[in-house]
Amino acid sequence: MDRDSILKRLTVLDFLAVDLQLYLDSHPDCTDTIKKYNEVVSEADGLREQYENLFGPLFSYRSYSKRDEFNWTDDPWPWENSFNFEIGGES
């Protein structure tokens, strides 16, 4: 997967995780939803590791890939326009 599609998929998965968690707040014993929630979270973390191995860190304070060097500072910064994908406007 290229960088933009991983980021888009992560945006979708993190949104799902939050929405399912809100449901689980009021339905803590709904096992189907817990299973779905766990699937979403583990897929997202797997993607985060894949992203970090390919493109560098997503977070300055946590790493999903075992890296020796600290390269948070040498990547394009998250707020730089070129670094961001376009979420709206496509199918």
């Binding site: 945006t11 979708v12 998965l13 949104f15 799902l16 929405d19 399912l20 449901y23 009021s26 339905h27 709904c30 189907d32 939803t33 779905k36």
Partner: protein, 49 residues
Amino acid sequence: MAECKPYADITNVMLAQAYVPYQRICTLMEPVAALKAGTVFPELVDVYK
């Protein structure tokens, strides 16, 4: 199976009492569609039709 109703019935309704029906899960929306709709629960999309 019968049409899945995404909320529980409200019993012994009292006058001038507000109720929020207890949610029941029927189906979850497709992930990308959920992000765009703002919820993963189809029954919560545009309830004020």
